[in-house]
Symmetry: C2
Subunit: 205 residues, 2 copies
């Protein structure tokens, strides 16, 4: 959240991600990024000779690393690690933000994908890598909980998909209900995978 400290270069990447989050890539002008980062405009062409494309790609990469890093911190915060607990924390990050700061922003990787996936292949690849990193972190966490690697990967995909989609719905409706709904509905399915039981049932009534 803090923009201060760390070099101006990193600040600009961070600010780019913040602005992309809100209005997509085209709404994140280079001048805006510099101003938001409190950095001189002239530094943009110095640090990012590849132009906006490079800046956007680095912002997407930063978001991927950030999301993956959060997974570890979520795990550490859980008293007893469970798939539903992890997913709940991942979702809670968004409900907290939306409740305290409003529904201004979405996922920067999602925005970059929607805006650039077709035209700018390097950005699409950056988004793919970011999702892959995030997915890998979640899948590894699930595997640590005793889920088989194949199902861990599949469930991680399901978690990411549901979260991204719920973020979208929540922003459109300006209501966190989609987020809470997917958390609640997915919880039993997620936890069922950790027992090593049938994929369907976990705890009988």
């Amino acid at each position: 959240m803090t923009v201060s400290e760390r070099g101006p270069r990193e600040r600009m990447v961070f600010s780019a991600a913040q602005l992309i989050r809100r209005g997509g890539v085209s709404a994140a002008g280079m001048r805006d990024v510099a101003e938001h980062a409190g950095a001189p405009r002239g530094s943009l062409q110095h640090y990012f000779p590849g132009g906006k494309e490079q800046l956007v790609n680095e912002a997407v990469g930063w978001a991927g690393r950030y999301a993956a890093g959060r997974v570890a911190r979520f795990l550490a915060a859980l008293p007893v690690p469970t798939p539903s607990g992890l997913f709940g924390e991942m979702v809670r990050q968004w409900t907290d933000e939306y409740e305290t700061s409003g529904f201004a922003g979405g996922c920067p990787v999602a925005a970059a994908t929607a805006d650039c996936a077709e035209r700018v292949d390097s950005t699409r690849q950056a988004a793919s890598a970011a999702f892959a990193q995030w997915h890998g972190a979640v899948a590894a966490a699930l595997a640590d909980m005793g889920v088989t690697p194949e199902r861990a990967s599949a469930l991680a995909t399901l978690m990411l998909s549901s979260l991204e989609g719920a973020i979208l719905l929540a922003r459109a409706e300006q209501d966190i209900r989609p987020l809470t709904t997917v958390t609640r509905e997915l919880a039993p399915l997620l936890d069922a995978a950790v027992t090593g039981n049938s994929p369907r049932c976990s705890t009988p009534p």
Copy 2:
């Protein structure tokens, strides 16, 4: 898919949705929309005096109506209606497109949400209405299958979220696997709701 027939006004709305699907709202220029629709540029300001905002909002509304309409057609195509069967058809529409035509486009409502949700409230409302219409159609279909209204609504939210998120991942990775994964993983959970059993288990092994 057909651009021909129907008045030029409707064609332009349709074309706008098509272009928004690909590169977001900012990539859908007014001149591009007119050209893509084979309509005269001068007609834009005649049919859409509200400017681009109106055009985008109508495109989003069109997409919502289209998605809701598809639900009914999917139901009709199913030999025996089940929640997982419906979801499979909804997903299949996307896997079919991506396999035959490439990963060029996503959901226009999602793109409009990501691009305009914060700045243009009328567009955000249009997106919310579109999602609501789509959600209502899915929930009604589930209720017809014997799912209680509350769970039908919750599962519809889950289906929409997972589908939208999987579309995003699929476009980034240029691979339909996220789509097939969510279909497979969600199927037992969805069908479990139709039996009226416990929310967790349906068919014991």
